[in-house]
């Protein structure tokens, strides 16, 4: 139990997927400063990352390793992830049409984000068990969602009451802010 707890803290904060491992920056930079869409998108990312992580793990263990074609991992994973999102979209529409209707916009936003793929590869690289894969993927994605959410909050504030110099507006200031968030997470180093 404790090792899972540590893994969660580490994946969410100490080795935060965005701020420390540098993955999934595009959505963090690109998504608007709307807090609501950050929430929705965060939830969707948690879902997709976990699904992709576990599916890739299963495919790695049951197909690639059995057949000895681990080197095709990159090719196979990316195909799997691209398809998975479509599959999930169909599934969602079948499971809960009214809900899907209310928020279908978030799902496809995230297929090509390097974090989903990166987490899937990390799971294999760090030789996680299935349970670890699940926990790690989910915690990483939650870490992502937290950054997204905090960033949306900070950007909303900058937009309303800030005066970022014109030449730093948009991407530059978002990146610098991400750096500051990463800096503050240094405070959690050694939390174990």
């Amino acid at each position: 139990m404790q090792e899972y707890l540590l893994m969660i803290v580490a994946a969410m904060f100490i080795n935060n997927i965005v701020l420390i491992r540098f993955m999934g920056n595009c959505p963090v930079v690109g998504v608007t400063s709307s807090v609501d869409s950050a929430l929705g998108m965060g939830a969707a990312v948690v879902f997709v990352t976990t699904m992709a992580g576990t599916t890739c793990w299963i495919i790695q263990k049951t197909i690639l390793e059995v057949l000895g074609i681990e080197y095709l991992q990159t090719l196979v994973f990316i195909l799997v992830i691209a398809t998975l999102v479509q599959f999930v979209e169909i599934l969602m529409q079948k499971v809960a049409p009214p809900l899907y209707r209310a928020l279908g916009i978030f799902l496809p936003l995230i297929t090509t984000n390097c974090m989903v793929f990166g987490v899937s590869v990390l799971n294999i690289k760090e030789e996680h068990s299935f349970m670890e894969t699940l926990v790690f993927s989910m915690a990483s994605a939650v870490g992502f969602a937290i950054v997204l959410l905090f960033m949306a909050g900070l950007r909303e504030r900058m937009d309303s009451a800030g005066r970022v110099p014109k030449l730093l507006q948009g991407v530059p200031i978002t990146l610098i802010t991400a750096g500051m968030m990463g800096l503050s997470f240094a405070g959690l180093m050694g939390l174990d």
Binding site: Y71, L72, L75, L79, E127
Partner: protein, 198 residues
């Protein structure tokens, strides 16, 4: 979206995927040996350098692979032996063996002089032990020194188990892992020695 379109889609993607995979398999076959060499060079060579002495060839090039057993599914498992030579004379022979440690398997490179069946030295290649604790099996040179220059007949078990090896305080599991690896290696060596055609 007509059926024809779907079939076209399926066809194109299947073919593209298959062609990509085929191409990659070809590239893989071409580079396989070189990759293996590089991996050995960068992962095993440091260990080999530590334990092999007095040779003038490249043990990595002069390596041989032998089937040394079967795994759970019944497939062959092979071991690579690195041959250190002086002139054309084989002075020692190194190979890797594993034991299980605290954080996962521990790989141990063992060098044996075939002439007098003496363990010349051991070095840990791969491990995932607790830093500062289990990693003393690498960081503490006196630990691996206990294995050096001892005949194969020596008891490489921990002193707790009646052997000659003093475990690292607080890292018994890691120590046991190394000792097991060495014992297993010696077994393996003795089993395949006839095949080695020395």
């Amino acid at each position: 979206m007509s059926l024809r379109e779907i079939i076209q889609m399926v066809l194109v993607l299947t073919i593209v995927a298959a062609v990509c995979a085929g191409g990659l398999a070809a590239v893989k076959m071409v580079t396989m040996e070189q990759i293996e060499y590089q991996q050995i060079k960068f992962i095993k060579e440091p260990a080999l350098k530590k334990i092999l002495t007095d040779y003038d060839n490249d043990p990595i090039s002069d390596r041989i692979q032998l089937v040394t057993g079967k795994d759970a599914r019944g497939r062959d498992v092979s071991t690579t032996f690195f041959l250190a030579k002086k002139g054309s004379q084989l002075v020692s022979l190194a190979f890797e063996s594993t034991g299980s440690g605290y954080g996962g398997p521990i790989g141990v490179m063992i060098a044996i002089a075939p002439e007098d069946d003496v363990v010349q030295g051991i070095a840990v290649t791969t491990q995932s032990e607790t830093p500062g604790l289990g990693t003393k099996i690498i960081d503490d040179p006196s630990f691996s020194a206990q294995f050096a220059d001892k005949p194969l007949s020596a008891n490489f078990s921990l002193s707790a188990a009646g052997g000659q090896i003093q475990a690292i305080t607080g890292a018994t599991v890691s120590s046991t892992g190394v000792s097991n690896a060495v014992n297993r290696g010696i077994e393996l060596y003795q089993a395949v020695k006839p095949e080695l055609d020395l």
